[in-house]
Amino acid sequence: MTRYEAPYGRDIAVVAFAQTCHRRRSDELSEVEMLMPVLHQVLEATGLRTGDIGFTCSGSSDYLAGRAFSFTMALDGVGAWPPISESHVEMDGAWALYEAWVKLLTGQADTALVYAYGKSSPGEVRDVLTRQLDPYYAAPLWPDSVALAALQAQALIDAGEAGEPELAGVAARSRRAAAANPHAQLQGEVPRGEYHVRPLRVSDCPPVGDGAAAVILAAGERARELCGRPAWIRGMDHRIEAHALGVRDLTRSPSTRLAAERAGAFRRPVDTAELHAPFTSQEIVLRRSLDLDDRVRVNPSGGALAANPVMAAGLIRIGEAAARIHRGESDRALAHATSGPCLQQNLVAVLEGEADAR
């Protein structure tokens, strides 16, 4: 492969990734206690210390565990004194990674630490997520995350694009793949279970749990120093759709499509895709929007159906895709993250490894 021409003037790569073993509960750990080990793992993997990091960016939501300003507590785990250059998004960590990528592209930093964490166990995540909805027309009805995904799944079934057997197939394949993922919360054979909200059965839904993840980004030669085979970010984009569900065609994800086009995903085929599809029906919507066929390995990690620590699950998709490139198991991978109900907002990143760096 010839040396790639950086489209934004600067090559940025994911050079390290770590995640917790995601679990249903983690009562014995505070958020920073849960997060700290993964921060230390990515620093150790690169030999960097906090003081070497040019920019730090995190993603989390105080609503999940009901702890006000929990992200400032989480900074204790970074070691933020003397003061560091730092930012936070009340979004999945994939969007924190986007901010860090932009920061590195500007040349204001050469390395970035990105992390995300979510503890769903203290609260009822289905209720908590209703608070992100339109406060006038939707939130007063408390439509929970499973209910909204079920409306999307039924629309897909009505359109003849999937049936319950296809949904079951996605669930089974994801949990089978997760058997090889030591961080996964749900692995192997998972019974289909009762209808959670029909047409979605328990097995069509992600496990509820706690977890954290961290990534280190580096620019240019710095990336090559820190990682044997950096996962170069060839493009990244995120797009959003109208917030009213009744305005959207729920069987399609035009925002994913557009983000993928802008990220350059269709220039060459990818061999791997890590899709942030918490519900089985959403993987079907995403595959179609991204033209992914059977030649692409989709969610070899098991995806969000195997572990869905809210606010970290999208960043984990980017991390999993990058880790496969680090290990030489992928040469070109697509990573996707989603936010909001029914795939409302979507981020796509395209990652590549260099052939001579295997």
Binding site: D27, E28, L29, S30, E31, V32, E33, M36, L39, H40, T50, Y63, G66, R67, M73, L75, D76, G77, G79, A80, W81, P122, G123, E124, R126, D127, V128, R131, P135, Y136, Y137, A138, A139, P140, L141, W142, P143, D144, A147, L148, A150, L151, Q152, A153, Q154, A155, D158, E194, Y195, V197, R198, P199, L200, A242, H243, A244, L245, G246, V247, L250
Partner: protein, 322 residues
């Protein structure tokens, strides 16, 4: 390691928001048992209506009245309603395209079971008995076999009480109560700290790297970013490093104002904690004042700190802890 502590935590807040002219007309309309939509530049009718076109961002102001009957465009059967959802018995979530509208409204459908629901079925609004100008003025939808009604009609957004009378007062805001229930667990370091407090001991943790002792411990050294673990008993006496005088009585707090809230550097600690100062007139509290905790029977933490009677601490002994 002591057992993990847990306590119920309720986060409750009224979400108070003002409305734009289109939302105001829509919610006023619901109160008056009328459903309004808004027409976009390309002639589509959006229900529920929004202030700006979701595609073009154009400002939208042309109101129309649509019908209270409509068609289900997708649905999902909810066998186990959650506490704050509109119906207490199993129901269907639905998107309903009302007759005269081009988009669908999210709501719930009261139906006997999932076999009675399908996409394309005809439904109508069941109005709430008491209406306040909120989306919940539609109690739910109910099955209703009817032919699709004709086109929307123009509407000026005001609602006369009688044919000749003055307009009813418009709804200009919403107050949406929200309540989230949690089971709070403080984690390892704070559990240890709280367990010691129950024995009237104040225990901090030392950073293995910079050797600083944090009280109360949060599990990590914010300077070094490493886990703290070594437990060190500090205090019980300490020094007021800085303070403020509270003059406004807090809701649900049985403390007379004015009172003093202070940062207190306990002897042996490298970080000041905060607490109320009592046993001394508020206007006599000063930096350097030596204090000790006052415990009440059955309490899990000191009620307040009071003067020890020792001479004030020298500024140089606590200036690094300010």
């Amino acid at each position: 390691m002591p057992e993990v502590l847990r306590a119920p935590l309720v986060v409750e807040f009224p979400f108070t928001r003002s409305l734009g002219p289109v939302q105001s007309a829509f919610l006023t309309g619901l109160r008056e048992r009328t459903v309004l939509g808004v027409r976009t530049g390309d002639g589509r009718v959006l229900v529920p209506p929004v202030e700006y076109d979701p595609v073009t961002a154009e400002e939208l102001r042309e109101l129309v009245e649509v019908h209270a009957t409509g068609t289900v465009t997708t649905w999902a059967w909810n066998p186990a309603p959650r506490s704050q959802q509109p119906l207490a018995r199993p129901f269907a979530w639905v998107l309903v395209r009302l007759d005269g509208a081009d988009t669908a409204l999210l709501h719930v459908l009261d139906a006997p079971g999932p076999d009675a629901v399908r996409t394309g079925m005809r439904v109508r609004v069941r109005w709430a008995a008491e209406r306040t100008g909120a989306i919940t003025d539609i109690a739910c939808f109910e099955p209703y076999g009817s032919e699709p009604a004709p086109l929307p009609r123009a509407h000026n957004g005001s609602f006369p009480r009688t044919a000749a009378g003055p307009a009813a007062e418009a709804v200009t805001g919403i107050v949406a109560p929200a309540r989230l229930d949690y089971t709070y667990a403080p984690g390892r370091a704070q559990s240890d700290h709280l367990a010691a407090l129950a024995e009237r001991r104040i225990v901090g943790e030392r950073c293995p790297s910079c050797r600083k002792i944090y009280v109360p411990p949060r599990g990590a050294c914010p300077t070094c970013g490493v886990a703290t673990g070594e437990q060190v008993e500090v205090g019980p006496r300490g020094t007021v490093t800085t303070f403020c005088i509270v003059n406004i009585k807090a809701k649900n707090l049985d403390i007379e104002v004015p009172y003093v809230y202070a940062h207190i550097a306990l002897d042996g600690a490298d970080l000041a904690l905060h607490g109320r100062i009592g046993g001394i007139p508020y206007d006599e509290v000063r930096m350097g004042l030596r204090v000790e905790p006052v415990w009440h029977d059955g309490a899990r933490h000191p009620d307040h700190y009071r003067p020890t009677g020792e001479p004030d601490a020298d500024y140089d002994t606590y200036k690094e802890l300010l």
